[in-house]
């Protein structure tokens, strides 16, 4: 086990920023904006450095330096392996860009300090969830992240925002309850909270109904956080009511960091998954994919449409990973399983980028016009060229039109599904992709094409910081396509897939205890 002293920075820096901002931010003007941007930029750079140097075996950090007693890990471990560095990179990328975007956007709200403090707190929570190797610690960080997000959703403190935040809190509370309940069951059953430690015990243990039960309760709990159907109902309200940079964080990374990441990590690395559970996961993924897009196509509120589309796209990710899991549990071809998981993860990073961008550009439209209703918008392409072209790129990317990144991740998922002989799933994925194209073109048509409505005649492009974030994400939409190139794939995503397929790799962290 290799110790890496830089790991805690992922939590300490944003957490520190969150506490410093309300204090120093009052005294120094512009402190909050500068510090958050710098923190996330630094963390992004750090993640990229880790990715480039390559992580062959997990790095770890023992909080408090507690030595293990009699081979039992006592300290809380932070573990940095292929999957976590991949997620950290995405989270901090979107956090940096959303934070930078917010510099101009948030001027219309009064409490800038609170905004950035909550923002940093949310990111600290997400980074913690991704890094921690301890089940209860995961729950704590998860609560930090979601409680910050409850407050951020309600940031506008209008009737609509407060209602959305209330629903989000009630249902989120339900999810936390389920997760905590399941963690309790596991602790009772295995007498430990360290994920790797549980994994060794679970592996040797026989078929256990309590284990299956706790798996399903966890699936429901994290499924709620990831907004998988039928646990999705809070998402459209919450994601559409939040300020746009926050929507982009929530849809782009929060549901992935505390929902999908947790599911993947626990189901691949901790539990010994049975075929039935894999089937359940895949079914939920397909359901989300289909129903989410069928709901999205009828929406007339830009951000609600994007929110529903997140449900659908999360379905793609879950389906890709679920197919991989299904193939693994039936002892199928490991290459195909790896391909399918690669597709799911590829779609995860892509979705973070293009959904983040879509919310940012929707925010730009709202910032200038104050309108979110598609019926009242129109003809903005001439007035806001950067917003309109970046939004178009994101729309085409999410609909799977080449040469943008979404095309390639969908391609991989579909090819993996066919190779694994899930012809129906491949067919459904394609039909849904066509529906996705239809509603994103509806968004384009009603926002940027057509007549300029009288009320919104007099507008111009958004300020620099907003444009900058959108342009960077739009470029990423094109450049991430390069991940499909076999050599680059091996360097970047293959380590992630390996962490998931080779469970033993994760258990290495226990080896030298």
């Amino acid at each position: 086990m290799i110790m890496e002293p830089l790991i805690p920075l992922y939590v300490i820096l944003p957490l520190g920023a969150a506490f410093l901002i309300p204090v120093i931010g009052r005294l120094i003007k512009g402190f909050q904006k500068t510090i958050t941007s710098l923190v996330f930029l630094f963390l992004l750079g750090l993640s990229i450095k880790f990715i480039i140097s390559g992580i062959n075996e997990p790095l770890s950090y023992r909080i408090g330096g507690w030595e293990p007693v009699a081979g039992i890990p006592i300290a809380i471990y932070f573990i940095l392996d292929g999957l976590s560095i991949f997620m950290l990179c995405i989270v901090n990328l979107i956090a940096f860009l959303s934070g930078f975007y917010a510099i101009s956007y948030i001027k219309k709200f009064t409490a800038e300090n609170n905004f950035y403090a909550l923002f940093s707190l949310m990111v600290a929570g997400m980074n913690g969830v991704i890094l921690t190797g301890d089940l209860f610690n995961l729950f704590v960080f998860l609560e930090i992240a979601v409680i910050a997000s409850y407050a951020l959703v309600a940031f506008g403190i209008e009737k609509e925002e407060l209602e959305a935040s209330f629903k989000y809190q009630v249902l989120g509370g339900l999810a936390s309850l389920l997760i905590l309940f399941s963690i309790g069951l596991l602790y009772w059953n295995t007498k430990t909270l360290n994920i790797a430690d549980i994994a060794t015990i679970v592996k040797t243990g026989a078929y256990n109904k309590i284990l299956i039960f706790s798996q399903l309760v966890l699936l429901a709990g994290f499924g709620l956080k990831a907004a998988i159907i039928p646990f999705h109902a809070w998402l459209p309200d919450a994601h559409s009511s939040a300020p746009s940079p926050i929507s982009s964080m929530l849809s782009g990374v929060l549901i992935k960091a505390i929902g999908i990441y947790a599911i993947i990590r626990l189901f691949f690395n901790m539990f010994a998954i049975s075929h039935e559970v894999a089937l359940t996961l895949t079914t939920l993924g397909v359901l989300s994919m289909v129903i989410g897009s069928l709901l999205a196509i009828g929406q007339w509120d830009i951000k609600r449409m994007l929110a529903y589309s997140s449900i659908s796209q999360v379905g793609y990710i879950i389906m890709g990973i679920g197919i991989g899991l299904l193939i693994l549990t039936t002892n199928g071809n490991k290459t195909i399983a790896a391909l399918s998981i690669f597709g799911g993860l590829f779609h995860l990073v892509n979705h973070a980028v293009f959904k983040g961008l879509l919310f940012l550009s929707a925010g730009a439209v709202e910032h200038r016009t104050g309108i979110r209703d598609l019926n009242k918008l129109g003809g903005l392409s001439g007035k806001m060229p950067i917003t309109s072209s970046s939004s178009l790129i994101a729309s085409l990317a999410i609909s799977g039109i080449p040469p943008f990144n979404g095309f390639f991740s969908k391609l991989v998922i579909i090819i993996a599904a066919i190779q694994g002989q899930f012809y129906w799933l491949a067919g459904i994925a394609i039909v849904i992709s066509i529906i996705t194209l239809a509603y994103f073109l509806k968004l384009q048509k009603n926002t940027f094409y057509g007549d300029v409505k009288n009320k919104i005649d007099n507008i111009k492009e958004v300020p620099f910081t907003m444009c900058f974030s959108m342009i960077v994400l739009a470029i990423l939409c094109v450049c991430l396509s390069l991940l499909i190139i076999p050599g680059i794939r091996e360097a970047v995503i293959e380590p992630v897939v390996n962490t998931l397929i080779n469970k033993a790799n994760y258990l290495l962290i226990l080896s030298e205890i």
Partner: protein, 630 residues
């Protein structure tokens, strides 16, 4: 066909004609819209050598074979080399006689359209970034035609869908709806192709078109074929995936219509159809039957729709669909004669249909009107436009000795020839033949409407200041018209033997036809006719106003030639069908839209915002999972 190793000297040329236009297009995005003319000239500077090089590739008779685009690239850096390892397989391109021909045609149309656009695309037409998209289209079309790897092909295919979407300006509700519909249909075809490619990869382990030869024996192989077939139909515009074309051309600038739906999309769609029917798959007789049925019904249905149109651009759009029927039928036959007929018709159609759109664009530019009812008598004002328009119209209607006749004749011969061999579709050859001929007659009928409506009759008062268009706009039309005549006259002696027999193989004509001899005879008869006319009749010729049912002829009265076609649309059975068609009953796009929106309504009902319901769903979901698994 034995592949001769591709000369590596040509690899840079091939790479260049694909990527130079694309990169130039991307660079042109950066420059401001104000220097549109400069951008146009830069495009011209790029399009002209590209045409030269595509001709150069075409002219290398012995050059054929497969090569990877990556072969031409040598990179010093070890890291980048390691990254790019394994990419070569996905960038395979294939040069054979078919792709060489299409390459030449793409280069040709690219140049023609750029020249025409120099004057046509002005501020009023203001599509943002028109030239960048034109250039990207050009490069991507080359890429699609030359690609051997299906994924590479799909990528270029998808880029073309985007440029098509961006080459129409969404200035009002109708035009933005047309743009959306176009991208939805082509994008959907792109998605379906992925399913086909996935299946092909699964069953044969390769996705290079030249390595494939798949028998259509079981359901899954048939499915793969059908997905690819739908893609080619959606691009080329065969029924039932054609509905974007009439909407698109009605609202798009004429140069965009001439460029994509009329020429490049046809070339690519039919190219891909030829590839999948002849190289990638081995068709069974039922699939052949399906393709031919779609072909002939495309001919008839689209031409019937064209007959009732008043908007001349939309009329041309329906013809752009109808003519695809001939190509599909020809290629569906699968015999050398049929394939040659289909490909020849594809080439001819691209020539005269883009010509017709350029004519339409010229009329629109000078008159500002889009309806046949509002224009008349332009022949004197715009003589070159009239003459070229006449050539194109006669050509599309299949009047000898023009090229449209030559290719239709080849297809008819192909159908007769096809009837001699056993098979389900073969038994019914007489039906296919008669429908194809009827379609041609109806085409003539609707083009009489176009020509007489726009050019003949009395010129309207408000059109008296109309002048001929400038050289950049008439020159492309004249070139196209001359080629139309040339290909028609020299069809059997030069064009078919030199160009198409290398692609499809040799054959024997069923009937005798020598285009040059016949053309000479026609020419002689016309000359004789003129002599007789001049010699005998010139003095006795009487000029009078047209007879309008005994009423006094008023100066401002013009004939709306569209009125004559009301008979058809008023006929009881037809009027019902036409009404339903206008209500989009037969439009696959609107049909599926309605189905999906119905589902949406049902599911949305459940999302009523009541918190307790949502909580119940969660618990219900958890309980169902528990019941199933414990």
């Amino acid at each position: 066909m034995d592949h001769i190793q591709l000369d590596t000297l040509y690899l840079p040329v091939i790479t260049a004609i694909i990527f130079v236009p694309i990169l130039a297009g991307i660079v042109l995005f950066i420059f401001p819209e104000k220097i549109k003319t400069v951008k146009g000239i830069i495009s011209l500077i790029i399009a002209a050598p590209v045409l030269y090089f595509s001709y150069d590739i075409f002219a290398q008779k012995n050059m054929a074979g497969k090569v990877s685009l990556m072969d031409g690239i040598t990179i010093k850096s070890q890291v980048i080399n390691a990254w790019l390892e394994g990419v070569g397989k996905y960038t395979a391109i294939n040069i054979d006689n078919l792709s060489k021909l299409i390459t030449l045609l793409i280069g040709f149309f690219g140049l023609i359209i750029v020249i025409y656009s120099l004057v046509y695309i002005n501020k009023a037409k203001g599509i943002r970034n028109y030239y960048p998209y034109v250039l990207i289209t050009l490069g991507s079309s080359f890429g699609a035609v030359l690609a051997d790897n299906l994924i590479l092909f799909v990528i270029f295919w998808g880029i073309l869908a985007i440029t098509c979407y961006k080459l129409i300006k969404g200035y009002d509700e109708e035009s933005s709806a047309a743009a959306k519909k176009t991208l939805v249909i082509i994008g959907a075809s792109d998605g379906l192709m992925l399913l086909g490619i996935g299946i092909i990869w699964k069953i044969s382990g390769s996705i290079n078109m030249s390595e494939l030869s798949i028998t259509t024996t079981d359901a899954i192989r048939n499915l793969a074929f059908i997905t690819l077939l739908i893609a080619s139909f959606a691009k080329a515009g065969a029924i039932p995936f054609h509905t974007w074309i009439p909407d698109y051309v009605k609202k798009a600038p004429a140069s965009s219509s001439a460029y994509l739906p009329a020429s490049l999309d046809k070339l690519l769609g039919i190219y891909f159809l030829a590839r999948i029917c002849n190289d990638v798959f081995i068709l069974n007789q039922w699939l052949t039957l399906v393709i031919i049925i779609i072909g002939v019904s495309t001919i008839i249905i689209a031409v019937m729709m064209a007959l009732i149109q008043h908007n001349y651009k939309k009329l041309l759009g329906y013809h752009a669909v109808s003519q695809v029927g001939y190509m599909v039928t020809g290629l569906g036959l699968g015999t050398p004669l049929g394939i040659i007929g289909g490909l020849f018709h594809m080439m001819n159609h691209a020539l005269y249909k883009s010509g017709l759109f350029l004519v339409a664009g010229s009329i629109e530019k000078r008159t500002g009107k889009e309806d046949l009812d509002d224009i008349s008598g332009l022949s004197k004002a715009m003589p070159l436009t009239f003459l070229t328009g006449l050539v194109f119209a006669l050509s599309i209607s299949g009047i000898p000795p023009l090229n449209g006749f030559a290719s239709k004749w080849t297809i008819y011969q192909g159908i007769i020839d096809f009837g001699k061999t056993p098979g389900v579709a073969n038994q019914l050859w007489i039906i296919w033949l008669s429908l194809a001929v009827i379609g041609s007659a109806l085409t003539l009928a609707s083009f009489i409407k176009f020509i007489s409506g726009a050019f003949l009759g009395r010129r309207r008062e408000e059109l008296k200041n109309v002048r001929e268009v400038s050289i950049a706009m008439w020159f492309p039309k004249v070139v196209l018209a001359l080629i139309c005549v040339g290909f028609g006259v020299f069809a059997t002696n030069f064009v078919i033997p030199k160009t198409f027999i290398p692609i499809a193989g040799d054959f024997q004509y069923v009937g005798a036809w020598n285009s040059t001899t016949i053309s000479l005879l026609i020419l002689i008869s016309i000359v004789l006719g003129i002599i007789i006319y001049l010699a005998g009749n010139i003095k006795n010729f009487r000029v009078d106003d047209s007879f309008v049912g005994g009423e006094t002829f008023r100066e401002q009265t013009g004939f709306a030639s569209t009125e004559f076609y009301k008979t058809i649309s008023n006929y009881k059975l037809f009027s019902f069908i036409y009404r339903k068609a206008e209500e989009k009953w037969f439009d696959i796009y609107d049909l599926s839209k309605n189905i999906i929106l119905w589902f949406n309504k049902k599911i949305s009902l459940a999302h009523n915002g009541v918190l307790s319901n949502y909580a119940i769903w969660i618990l219900a979901g958890l309980i169902i999972m528990l019941i199933f698994l414990i």
